[in-house]
Amino acid sequence: MIIQIILLVGLVIFAGLAILAKDLLKAALSLAVASLFLGIIFFRLSAPYAGVFEISVVAGLITVLFALTISLTRKNDQVQEARLVKIAFPLFFILFLIIDGLVMKSLLLKVPALPAGPEAGTFGQVLWKQRTFDLIAQIGVILAGVLAVLALFRKKEEDKDE
């Protein structure tokens, strides 16, 4: 339970950081960490495949990609942040957390006939027998990621013309 809470808090903190960080690189990294936390939470909540995808898709590939790309093309112009935004976002975020806490709790009580647990079988079996399509999709995601790497880290010879 404690681990769970720590994970949740970590998720919230890093998600917040990802959003609030002025520096794109820091933001990207925070996002990756947040996604990692989320993936772990999924695992712990007996949703292994959700966890896998979360980590592989968001946390793993994309964010790291961005972090790297951004670090390569950093520019030094500072983005001005309006004070309003600084206040508005946390406000909404906290509001959301509170409401989420209150509403979701009551809602979850109303959810009828919660199923007993995750499907039987190992992770692989589940993946292969019942979620075949997701596998293709997953391949697609990974392919996309690979291609993205190729695209974003291409030699910049032609770019110089621009």
């Binding site: 942040e81 309006a82 976002f89 509001l95 409401i99």
Partner: protein
């Protein structure tokens, strides 16, 4: 003769007019010959139709009761004859007078077009057809005034157009009202008891009629035209054609369409307009320093008699009015033509510069004198007869004030003609103009013919009165027993005639008093009255066109136009041009400010939006 003959007086002059437009300006003589011949043909046609008395033609035209409906009967035949007579004289006169005019081609074209329209207006038996021809005259009037080729000619032409347009539009409205209340547009089927809306219809149609005739307050373009337009036009339009048409229609309105009752409010309106026109115009005429302008004011003033006569609604008065119309057409045309003759030879019509021309231009002087005496109402000329009839009529209504006004008019009419004649033809020979001679025969002849007619219609007044006027009034007279219009004619021994003669004597007195005071200069004979305290100021205002309804009207129109433009049109445009774009831009600006590129900000909206959506869904589900 078939009914189609009725088309001839319209189509023939129109066709001739088109022919005139086609003849190049270079060609000489042909035009003049054509004008005289075709006007002779028209005159013949006038006589022929007059002898027919009754003829009518009806063909379908626009539907809805708007037929091409022509009707010849004694009244219209009489006017038609008169019109063609005057046309003939004018054409004859123009052959010399307008010979070298640069726009002579158009001149004849417009004259004959005007003749066609006038004939059409007289013959039409349908209100729409009437207003069609009636209003079409505006164009010819406009065109003929511009032919004056003076710098201000066009201004005056527009003035005539707008005044005429106003009057004719009123008439359209009146016709509309009449149609709405009677359901027919055929003129000889309309007989309305004037009350309710019909009163409005009467007033509006009356405006159309007296506007054409040139009564106050729709007269103001005539004095301007006297200077700006060719003098033949003045003789043609304001002196004869327009009077004939206007009074013809007024008579028909008052006698046929609306049965005017003696002393009824509408009769009063007419009489007031008549009396006011007589007095005010004659006062203006008196002080004029230009021959033609002086005549033009008389052309207005005399209309007053006719309107007054018709307004009495008493047979003798009406007959007087109509008789005065034809008389006036004769002597006023004669007068204008003689002024034209003077202008032709002397090159000017300013009274100051003229003088003592009688010796060199004896025929013109003679013609002028006869016509001037006729207009002044001197026994035994036609003016005397018709004026007496109007005086009697006015007295019989029981409102002697109108008769008094008429008499006042008579005084100053005579006074002003004494002044005019004295300063142009008599008195010492002016030194400002070179030696000259009598005008050519085609100019003098019409003047003499008209003078002769004035004498004839005066001495043998039974001829016109019984042949022309009496049939018109036959309907009116039935109620009042036998009708003898000649009772008062040339009768010097009754109080009315006495007063009239007294008036003439007073006029002589005024003239010679003024002449003496003005250092024996005839053109200054009216100065004592001009300089009278009170009158002087009024005269000055009048010279400044303060009383000119047109000038005031134009000022009003301009003011109104500016108001409409500045306070309605521009604000509306401002809304589209500025307000809407400004609203759009400010909204855009506001929204754009919110998009500051901060995704924290964006995320805040996203989550805020989510909360709102959840809240709304839950609210709606409840």
């Amino acid at each position: 003769m078939t009914a189609m003959t009725l088309l001839w007086p319209i189509i023939f002059p129109a066709a001739v007019a088109i022919l005139f437009f086609l003849i190049p300006t270079r060609v000489r003589f042909v035009r003049e010959v054509l004008a005289v011949i075709s006007s002779t043909v028209l005159l013949y046609l006038g006589f022929a139709l007059f002898s027919l008395k009754e003829l009518s033609l009806t063909t379908n035209w626009l539907g809805m009761g708007i037929n091409f409906d022509l009707r010849l009967y004694h009244f219209s035949a009489f006017i038609l004859l008169a019109l063609s007579g005057f046309l003939f004289l004018i054409c004859l006169y123009s052959t010399v007078k307008m010979k070298d005019h640069p726009r002579v081609r158009e001149y004849y074209g417009y004259v004959f077009l005007a003749a066609a329209f006038s004939n059409g207006a007289v013959l039409s038996n349908n209100f729409i057809l009437l207003i069609f021809f009636w209003e079409a005259l505006l164009i010819t009037t406009y065109a003929l005034v511009t032919i004056g080729l003076k710098p201000t000619s066009h201004r005056t032409a527009v003035k005539s157009l707008i005044i005429g347009g106003f009057c004719d539009f009123s008439m359209i409205l009146g016709i509309g009202l009449l149609w709405a209340s009677t359901g027919t547009l055929t003129m000889n089927q309309v007989h309305v008891e004037p009350h309710g809306l019909a009163v409005a219809a009467f007033i509006l149609m009356m405006i159309g009629a007296i506007g054409k005739a040139g009564a106050m307050p729709f007269h103001t373009w005539i004095p301007d035209a006297a200077l700006d337009a060719p003098v033949t036009f003045m003789a043609f339009m304001p002196a004869s054609f327009e009077k004939l048409l206007g009074i013809y229609l007024l008579a028909r309105i008052s006698l046929d369409f609306f049965q005017l009752k003696v002393g009824s409010s509408m009769a009063m309106v007419l009489m007031i307009i008549g009396a006011a026109t007589i007095v005010l115009a004659v006062f203006m005429a008196l002080i004029q320093k230009d021959f033609k302008k002086l005549l033009s004011f008389h052309a207005i003033s005399q209309v007053g008699y006719m309107i007054l006569g018709i307004g009495t609604a008493i047979p003798i008065g009406i007959a007087g009015g109509i008789f005065h119309m034809i008389n006036h057409a004769m002597y006023k045309t004669g007068l204008f033509l003689s002024s034209g003759s003077v202008e032709h030879r002397a090159g000017t019509t300013e009274l100051k510069k003229l003088g003592g021309l009688a010796r060199e231009m004896p025929w013109t002087a003679f013609g002028f004198s006869v016509c001037a005496l006729a207009i002044s109402g001197v026994w035994p000329l036609n003016g005397f007869v018709s004026k007496e009839m109007v005086f009697h009529g006015a007295l019989e209504t029981g409102y002697p004030i109108f008769a008094i006004a008429a008499w006042v008019g008579a005084i100053f009419t005579f006074a002003s003609f004494l002044k005019a004649g004295h300063s142009v033809f008599f008195g010492p020979r002016s030194t400002e103009i070179p030696k000259t001679k009598e005008s050519e025969a085609p100019i003098v002849l019409p003047i003499l013919i008209l003078a002769a007619l004035c004498i004839t219609f005066g001495v043998y007044n039974k001829l016109p009165l019984q042949n022309f006027i009496q049939p018109i009034l036959s309907g009116q007279a039935e109620a009042q027993g036998s009708l003898d219009l000649t009772t008062h004619a040339l009768n010097l021994f009754n109080p009315v005639a006495g007063v009239s003669i007294l008036c003439l004597i007073i006029a002589l007195g005024i003239h010679f008093y003024g002449w003496n005071r003005g250092g024996k200069k005839a053109y200054l004979a009216s100065e004592p009255i001009h300089q009278l305290i009170g009158l002087k100021q009024l005269y000055n205002l009048s010279e400044a066109r303060f009383f000119d309804l047109y000038e005031q009207g134009v000022k009003f129109l301009q003011w109104l136009a500016r108001i409409l433009f500045q306070f309605i049109d521009r604000p509306i445009d401002f809304i589209y041009e500025k307000v809407i774009t400004a609203i759009g831009r400010s909204l855009t600006g506001l929204l754009q400010k919110a998009h500051n590129g901060q995704y924290a900000n964006y995320l805040a909206w996203t989550i805020g939006g989510l909360l709102v959506v959840i809240w709304i869904i839950l609210q709606l589900l409840r």
